[in-house]
């Protein structure tokens, strides 16, 4: 019994010690923040609304390397996946606008997701401010080898019943494909998959004949000749796939791409904003980052935050009117 008491005392003593140590630490941090004008004040967290490993995550990690060198503090990328990035964006939007928190923005969250979810749920530029645009990621329509299609015209004039895979509901893949099919007056079954990889695999195995996926995912298979590229949805020909016609060239109005930008909570001080914008610019100019873009088939689209807001807002309106004109809906009951 006595033994037990001493042990307990020891435990509570060490607990008290730990608590003291923690308070001391807290005091330290508090002392540092006494100078709020100074930026950056400690590590800058870069929140990513996607799981580790996807292209959104890889871009954030590549950029945070350069940002860390530019700002002279650590810039950890923190994954907070959920609801196509809406969760992370809303969370960061509510933080203090001190520049210590950045968030990776996907254009689809602002331009396409609103077509698939209720209005309260959609993220708008009333919630966040944009620092800079980063890059463009294109969608490509591919056909299985077994189907024998070599161009979209062949698909459009085919009498066969065809299945079309997408990477999910409310994605650029779905929007681009639905718009193209509607404009070309092609009937087919749309089959949503969980993400890009299964949609691609399904085409390789001819489970569906056609799919629209992101270029970075499809490129290795296109190069290996296991799938056939038909159309790319960028407005101009893509430098990584120069022989594939754009939808625009074929006479269709489907300007769908994925763009990414860096966001911050509203109300950031001008000083912190200019420091961060410069740091982003510096990071995107490094050789490592340029090399990264090339290896991941991303077309740099490094524009200012104001331009991002203008472009994305215009795209959101464009997609809305296009879906209405063509009478398509991204959600059920079509």
């Amino acid at each position: 019994m006595k033994n037990r008491f001493t042990r307990r005392t020891l435990l509570s003593l060490s607990a008290a010690g730990a608590a003291l140590a923690l308070t001391a630490c807290g005091g330290n941090v508090g002392g540092g923040s006494a100078d709020p004008a100074k930026f950056p004040n400690g590590p800058v967290t870069f929140t990513v609304g996607a799981a580790p490993g996807g292209s959104t995550d890889l871009i954030a990690r590549a950029l945070s390397e350069g940002l860390s060198d530019e700002l002279g503090v650590a810039v950890p990328a923190v994954n907070k996946p959920g609801a196509n990035g809406a969760l992370a964006t809303e969370e960061v939007a509510e933080m203090d606008p001190d520049g210590q928190n950045l968030v990776m923005l996907n254009a689809s969250l602002f331009t396409i997701t609103p077509l698939a979810v209720s209005e309260e749920e959609a993220v708008t530029f009333d919630d966040v401010d944009v620092l800079a645009g980063l890059s463009q990621d294109d969608y490509v329509m591919i056909a299985s080898k077994k189907s024998g299609f070599a161009s979209f015209d062949e698909v459009a004039s085919s009498d066969e019943k065809l299945s079309y895979g997408t990477t999910g509901v409310g994605t650029g893949s779905q929007l681009a494909q639905e718009l193209l099919l509607a404009q070309a007056d092609v009937k087919g079954t749309t089959v949503p998959f969980d993400s890009g990889a299964p949609a691609l695999t399904a085409v390789m195995g001819n489970q569906v004949q056609i799919s629209t996926v992101q270029l970075g995912e499809a490129k290795p298979q296109i190069d290996a000749g296991t799938v056939e590229p038909l159309v790319i949805f960028s407005t101009e020909r893509n430098e990584f796939l120069p022989d594939v016609p754009t939808a625009k060239e074929l006479g269709y109005d489907v300007p769908v791409s994925q763009f990414r930008a860096v966001g911050v909570p509203k109300g950031l001080s001008a000083e912190a904003k200019s420091k961060l914008t410069e740091a982003i610019q510096g990071a995107t100019e490094t050789e490592t980052y340029k090399e990264f873009n090339k290896n991941n088939l991303l077309t740099p689209h490094e524009i200012s935050g104001e331009e991002v807001i203008k472009e994305w807002t215009a795209l959101a309106e464009k997609y809305k009117s296009l879906t209405e004109e063509n009478g398509i809906s991204l959600v059920s009951g079509k």
Binding site: G53, G82, A116, S332
Partner: protein, 509 residues
């Protein structure tokens, strides 16, 4: 020998001291993160990715692969000792592994799991060396109807593997299926049971569910137990499995290796289904199936062998087709891209040094893993000597921390608490959490693939039977479903004839 020259060169690559060192580092890190519930190999690899930028591609991938299969074994340790499955593929290990630990046979369970993991991985690597391009196409033949049939078979097995009452297992499985429907419908975008909460939009994550139901539920239950009788710390009798144990487990390992190798090739859920199927098979072939759930060594050996074999064979679609079979493979895919290498059909021809270097590093890595596991088993099982009053809060802390780190979300921590309470109530009323968790994992696989199949087949259910693989799977399903009825019928007839015989014998006398 044109085939063997690059294979042997690959061994040369692995034997390079730098690569050996990184292989060891990877395996050690993997084992550590496997032990921490929640922090999985996928997140670890993503965090360590920037470290690989500066090193050679082969070296980088060797290390990342080491983390992956190291974590597979690490996860077993917590399943056996603390009843905390870190991944879906180690859920079934809990059934017998934890019971064995309570019986003082934790060392045997961990030892047999280490040997099984090694055996499964080795069989898979040999298969990977010789059959990779051949079996790769098998993954492509698996379309939505095949996945739907496979998931259906899996859910049926969930009900049959449960030890206690079959009705209770089915009820638990039904709850699991219901929980699997939470989240945004991936076909229509409609919200299902999310209550407007964005954190639920993507559904409930596996880890908080399993950690709550198994880990926290068990701790709560034991806490209650403590007031009734002071339970002494579990005595650890034996550290290493005996020759008899190994002999008993060997056939299970053989079957597990093959199952794991083939099912692991399938993208999505391959490892989980293989461990589940392996457990069901072991229970079916056992002379006395009632031992399962009460510390049957085959119940640990089979699934552990199968999930490691599956982990290894999941490299096949990545390296030969460029398809990542699971989340971790997707990150390794990303790591390769960063290095300027595109995994795909041309990899083996364009970059044989990388391909064979990675494949052969797995032989070495698994030997390293086994060598480390043997002395460490003794260290790990000491955990069980710690008094529950100290161990329980620490376990809870680690679990909460683990749940938080998956998505950096406090919501997931609340989920652990809620499922912990549910796990406790279930245990009190004699429900097993196993069927619930497994049905949860298979439920979303079944639903999405069934709906996808109906789209592809244009609503024609007959399509399931005209495709050879899905037809065979459905036939197996029917046999497994009807077997108990058939068996009891045969048994009845046997006893009847026996009774008649006895009667006639009596009459003769």
């Amino acid at each position: 020998m044109d085939f063997f020259a690059p294979v042997l060169d690959g061994f040369g690559t692995v034997m390079d001291p730098t690569n050996l060192l990184y292989c060891l580092v990877g395996v050690v890190i993997g084992m550590l993160v496997g032990v921490l519930p929640g922090l999985g190999p996928a997140a670890t690899i993503a965090i360590l990715l920037p470290l690989t930028y500066g090193i050679e591609p082969v070296t980088a991938i060797i290390m990342l692969a080491g983390i992956f299969y190291g974590a597979q074994y690490g996860g077993t340790i917590t399943s056996v000792l603390l009843r905390l499955p870190g991944e879906a593929s180690s859920v079934v290990t809990v059934f017998d592994g934890y019971v064995m630990a309570k019986q003082g046979r934790a060392g045997t369970a961990l030892g047999i799991a280490a040997i099984g993991s090694f055996a499964g991985a080795t069989v898979s690597i040999i298969g990977l060396t010789f059959l990779a391009p051949l079996v790769a196409s098998f993954a492509l033949d698996f379309g939505p109807p095949e996945y739907a049939a496979l998931a259906l078979l899996g859910i049926l097995l969930v009900a049959t593997i449960s030890g206690a009452s079959k009705i209770k297992a089915i009820i638990a499985a039904a709850v699991g299926l219901l929980l699997a429907t939470v989240g945004r419908d991936i076909f229509t975008g409609a919200e299902r049971f999310t209550f407007g909460n964005l954190s639920m939009a993507d559904g409930i994550d596996f880890a908080p569910l399993a950690m709550g139901l198994f880990g926290i539920g068990e701790i709560l239950y034991n806490l209650e137990d403590r007031h009734r009788a002071v339970s002494a710390p579990i005595k650890v009798k034996r550290v290493w499995p005996s020759g008899k144990d190994i002999k008993q487990a060997a056939p299970a390992m053989g079957r597990g290796s093959l199952l794991g190798f083939f099912l692991g090739i399938l993208p999505g859920g391959g490892a989980t289904i293989s461990s589940l199927v392996s457990y069901a098979v072991e229970k079916k072939v056992a002379k006395d199936p009632s031992r399962f759930g009460k510390g049957a060594i085959e119940g640990v050996a089979g699934p552990e062998t199968a999930n490691n074999a599956a982990a290894t064979s999941s490299f096949i679609p990545l390296l030969t087709l460029g398809i990542p079979a699971n989340g971790t493979m997707a990150i390794i895919f990303g790591a390769l891209l960063i290095q300027g290498i595109t995994p795909g059909p041309q990899l083996i021809g364009n970059d044989p040094e990388l391909f064979w270097g990675v494949v052969n590093s797995m032989y070495i890595g698994n030997i390293l893993l086994l060598l480390m596991a043997i002395p460490l088993v003794g260290v790990f099982i000491r955990i069980l000597r710690i008094r529950a009053a100290i161990l329980a809060p620490i376990t809870v802390l680690i679990t909460m921390l683990g749940a938080y780190t998956i998505r950096n979300s406090i919501f997931d921590v609340f989920l652990v608490v809620v499922f912990g309470a549910l796990g406790y109530v279930m245990k009190k009323f004699g429900f097993e959490p196993g069927p619930l968790v497994l049905a949860f994992v298979l439920g979303s696989l079944l639903e999405s693939n069934l709906r996808r199949s109906l789209l592809v087949l244009e609503g024609d259910l007959g399509g399931f039977f005209t495709r050879p693989i899905s037809a065979s799977l459905l036939i197996v399903f029917v046999i497994v479903a009807l077997w108990p009825m058939l068996k009891s019928f045969i048994d009845k007839r046997k006893t009847n004839t026996l009774a008649v015989q006895v009667e006639t014998e009596k009459e003769k006398v």
